[in-house]
């Protein structure tokens, strides 16, 4: 049962990735990429990483994809609103993929890994995850937080408008 779910989710992840990479419109590509990331999150859950699956949805499919959407809306509002009424039934393929993903997620969550043994032979609870992380990799957490801080400063510097002080900047 879990092996079947693994192959279904793998096929869905590959299908949505290929659809994402072949879309001409970046917004459509981004929405397919969100479905691919959701499929990967379910694969994480299947492979015994429930906390990682939750963070995949929150961080990747939530924060990073919304950042992409912000930038696309900021830079190319024309392509975002282009040919909105071109095809009537193009919502059907993503809706089918989304409902399949939801069904797989429902089956996975309903399996109750703690009672029926383990899903994939290995199950790292959030408590064990946190203990392993802060016992052995506390320094790595600090370094990653510093990387995020540097990235935020660099992004702020790059995206600032230079029109006010163009003379002394050049």
């Amino acid at each position: 049962m879990t092996a079947l779910l693994f192959y279904i989710l793998s096929a869905l992840a590959l299908l949505t990735t290929l659809l994402c990479l072949t879309r001409p419109n970046p917004v459509h590509a981004l929405l397919y990429l969100m479905q691919a990331l959701f499929a990967v999150a379910l694969l994480y859950y299947l492979l015994g990483a429930p906390l990682l699956a939750a963070w995949q949805v929150i961080l990747y499919a939530g924060a990073i994809m919304v950042l992409f959407l912000f930038v696309i809306m900021l830079l190319e509002p024309a392509s975002a609103a282009k040919n909105a009424a071109a095809k009537r039934f193009r919502w059907i393929p993503p809706a089918m993929i989304g409902s399949l993903l939801l069904a797989c997620g429902g089956i996975l969550v309903g399996m109750d890994p703690l009672k029926s043994g383990e899903i994939a032979g290995f199950w790292l609870s959030p408590r064990g995850f946190g203990q392993a992380l802060f016992e052995h990799f506390g320094l790595a957490v600090e370094i990653v937080s510093l990387i995020l801080l540097f990235a935020a400063v660099g992004a702020f510097h790059l995206a600032r408008r230079h029109s006010a002080n163009r003379e002394d900047a050049s």
């Binding site: 990479l21 660099g154 790059l158 995206a159």
Partner: protein, 101 residues
Amino acid sequence: MMVPLGHVVTLAGLLFTAGLLGVLLRRNLIMILIGVEIMLNAAGIVLVGASAYWRHPAGQLFALLLMPVAAAEVTVALALVIYLKRSRGTLDVNRFDGMKG
């Protein structure tokens, strides 16, 4: 582990190849960044699969550390995208040939 490790690695390899082809073949800068995201996700699948195979939490911890690194990369890259769009007025990478020999 019910799914063999080879199948997990194969899936990650296929996803990585798809992302790499997207990076190499698409000419829109945002689509290239999406390809990079797909490649990072494929790396995460390998890490979590290896963690389940050896029953050791280190793989999952590295997959966790992969996420903030990807977020930092996307932050800087999207700021560069905004900068390039403002200074050059386009996102087509074929137009950025200022260092062509």
